[in-house]
Amino acid sequence: MTGTDQSEALRERVADAAEQGEALSITGSGSKHFYGNPVQGSALDIRAHRGIISYEPTELVLTARAGTPIVEIEEALTAEGQRLAFEPPQFNGGGTLGGVVAAGLAGPRRPYGGAVRDMVLGLRLINGRGELMRFGGEVMKNVAGYDVARLNTGALGTLGVITEVSLKVLPAPAARVTLEVEADPTQCHDLSEQWLRNGRPLSGMIHDGERLYARFEGTTSAVDDAVAAIDGKALEPAAADAFWQSIRDQRHAFFAGDEEPLWRISLPPASDPTVYGERFLIDWSGQQLWLRGHPEPHNLRARAAAEGGSATLFRGRIDGVDAFPPLDAVQARLHRNIKKAFDPHGILNPGRLYPDAEVS
């Protein structure tokens, strides 16, 4: 279709680095350098390796090179009335497909539409030995070999340079509406359950501390029925779209300011999201909590863990605090072993996911 294939050049670059023992820092558009632990290494820019390779709407599959801007992919899908179910964050159109998959972060639709990993069908990958390999494929069901494609989703480039990804895509629904609802932040789970169990096509739920915003997407009559049944005020369509984009891309006022720490807390259903701090934004029907301010990191993590959740320091580095919560001893060992199996010389994004002491 369009774009250029740089995979052989990228492979040679990694193979050379492996020989020299030179650390590489993989960058897409670099939009997320704030996320994860900092990496020292020569930049490996993959943006030139771009272009949609194939897209067949009736197969529900799109394959593109990792450097393809995510907006280019969304445009191609929109033209066919389809979309990415996981609503990936976009920042001024800069984010790349590889960055989205490597970061594994999804937007507001995630609990109802699926995670990034749920839609990754296959990928091509250069491991730390400079070998270009293909895992998974372009079909919906595939259990041949271990699921290396999903293993690399969210691995932040620590196991390989992703060069190509095949994604499952889905039809965009015919209708959508966003309702502003009077509700307490502790009601997110119960309201969400009530609506889902009544067949309402819920596809987003935010509580900003003041008000609850619920998005419904589905067939025209299902959306109309939701509006008729639920006590709330419908937002203007343009304002509604702008609202969800501001959440997805973190341009909402809550996220302003890069210096102050931003915590992301992943919570089991029906947790009380209001106990973690004063300034919060609740997403995912209460299962993703964004927190500003200066909570004591160890207490915060312990509290989240006790509930069956976890707290990530998403932005704003704090001395002596890793971006990600620690793993138990068994899984720390498995992580080290897996890292070695993919990247024996420790050259790919060293320390990005876990500090060198733990993984290498």
Partner: protein
């Protein structure tokens, strides 16, 4: 028995005196938890791939997590292989015993620990049957979505082991999309919880890696799954087509209109006839193919979709469309499809079920090639097909009592799997590689990829004691199979477009 040896020399490197191990195991297991006599071992000699039979050295039936930990620790120390078995319904030999090892039967782990209806989460032991979860959730109006046809028998631990699918997975996902966490014991005997009740967990996605890992990475001792609310309403319709190709186009047409049905299954003429003779489901035996389509959701949604589906099927040349009038008829429409395997069992002394997945647009070509391949071996093939997601189940009919027929069926199966790879698909959609498709893995993957798989295996199980000889071929095996040189981009028929 199959034509080729089940295990290769390199899979049989565990020649250990197991008597000391048996003595040590007696100390920790209940009397009936240790089986060493041939009569007792026989019950475990095969899984759902019945022509492949192998006695283990011993069978261990633990009852507690601590016992599993001790068994694994002792086997690790002694260097004895361990094959974990759930219900033994694998169709690929995944739970086929190892001749030098322990068969670890998880059947006593059959308790549902918790149904948390408020949070829509179930926590169960790995030996719990798939359907038992839905039955336990039913009083709360909830269910567990993945529904393999074997759901009355297969265990949730085995479902994770194979990443099982069902007729509803186009819309609701495979096992990997519905499991939140697993408690796993490593080969060293250590316990860890992978995943959580939250939507994501720190670190690498080991939870995804456990799915479809065929008991090669650890032993699962608890599974936490998410439950879904029962759809408010369902509608089932059945459409007849004069040829398979139009049926395939109709499926593409539905998806082009933005409809993802809850279930979308296709059967070819031979399968329709066999099912109709068996369960009298009211199938159109004049049709060359039928599509069974289930729509679910709110009343409003289903009404909208039913109209669109009906229109689309007519546009694509459906010769007859029947909409189920009531629940009884819905069940009847499904009954034929769900009983397709046993129905075929009635028309042929034996059948061999394959499991490739292909890009849907290749359907007509692939079905034509399948009938040519079968004809060349003088065998017949019946096709049922998860039409929505391209997962084929060709059933190769043969008579194991006729000399050479099993071998012929195996050759047909292997050729079908290679055909699936050739058109851009995979050798297994949901049944797993096991011992059955291990040679064909050499066709789908290049040497570096296979080595990477072995690297992952070693990261979990350095000594290679968990389920040796399964799922991932050694490079020696591939060299012998003679296919290692054939990998991506160098496949036969380069003129074929691949996605």
């Amino acid at each position: 028995m199959p034509a080729h040896a089940l295990f290769r020399d390199e899979d049989l490197r565990f020649d250990v005196d197991v008597d000391p191990l048996i003595d040590a195991l007696r100390q920790v297991l209940p009397e009936e938890g240790l089986i060493v006599h041939e009569a007792g071992l026989r019950a475990y000699e095969c899984d759902g791939l019945a022509p492949y039979k192998q006695l283990p050295r011993l069978v261990v039936v633990p009852e507690t997590i601590e016992q599993v930990q001790t068994v694994l620790r002792l086997c690790h120390e002694a260097g004895v292989p361990v094959v974990t078995r759930g219900s033994g319904t694998s169709l690929s030999g995944g739970s086929l015993p190892h001749p030098q090892g322990v068969l670890l039967a998880m059947g006593k782990f059959n308790r549902i620990r918790e149904i948390d209806h408020h949070r829509r989460i179930a926590r169960v032991e790995p030996g719990v049957r798939n359907l038992a979860i839905t039955e336990a959730a039913a009083p709360y109006g909830l269910y567990y979505a993945p529904d393999p046809s074997s759901q009355i028998a297969c265990s949730i631990g085995g479902n994770v082991g194979e990443n099982a699918g069902g007729v509803h997975c186009l819309k609701y996902g495979l096992t990997v999309h519905n499991v939140l966490a697993v408690k796993v014991i490593t080969m060293e005997g250590e316990l860890t919880t992978i995943g959580s009740e939250s939507l994501d967990s720190p670190g690498l996605d080991l939870l995804a890696l456990m799915h479809g890992s065929e008991g090669m990475l650890g032993v699962i001792v608890e599974v936490t799954v998410k439950l879904l609310p029962n759809p408010l309403t369902k509608q089932v319709l059945m459409a007849s087509f004069a040829d398979v190709e139009s049926g395939g186009h109709a499926v593409a047409g539905l998806i082009a209109r933005g409809i993802i049905p809850g279930g979308l299954e296709m059967m070819d003429g031979a399968a329709i006839q066999a099912a109709e003779d068996f369960v009298q489901a009211g199938y159109d035996t004049d049709a060359a193919a039928i599509l069974i389509c289930e729509l679910d959701g709110s009343e409003a949604e289903v009404a909208d979709q039913l109209k669109a589906v009906d229109e689309c099927l007519r546009d694509h040349g459906a010769t007859r469309i029947q909409v189920a009038a009531d629940d009884e008829e819905k069940a009847r429409f499904w009954a034929g499809r769900k009983a397709a395997f046993p129905a075929v069992g009635r028309i042929s002394p034996d059948y061999y079920c394959m499991d490739g997945t292909i890009p849907r647009k290749q359907l007509a070509y692939v079905l034509r090639r399948i009938s040519e391949i079968s004809a060349a071996e003088a065998l017949e093939t019946v096709n049922v097909f998860h039409a929505g997601d391209g997962n084929l189940h060709p059933l190769i009919l043969f008579d194991g009592n006729q000399p050479g027929q099993l071998e012929a069926a195996e050759r047909v199966g292997s050729a079908i799997l290679q055909l699936c790879v050739e058109v851009g698909g995979t050798v297994t959609g949901e049944h797993g590689v096991g011992v059955e498709k291990i040679n064909e893995m050499c066709v789908q993957f290049a040497g570096a990829e296979i080595e990477q798989f072995h690297g992952i295996k070693a990261a979990f199980d350095e000594k290679g004691l968990l389920n040796p000889g399964k799922a991932i071929p050694t490079l020696n095996r591939c060299a012998e199979f003679g296919r290692l040189h054939v990998h991506n981009g160098e496949l036969p028929h380069p003129e074929l477009e691949r996605l």
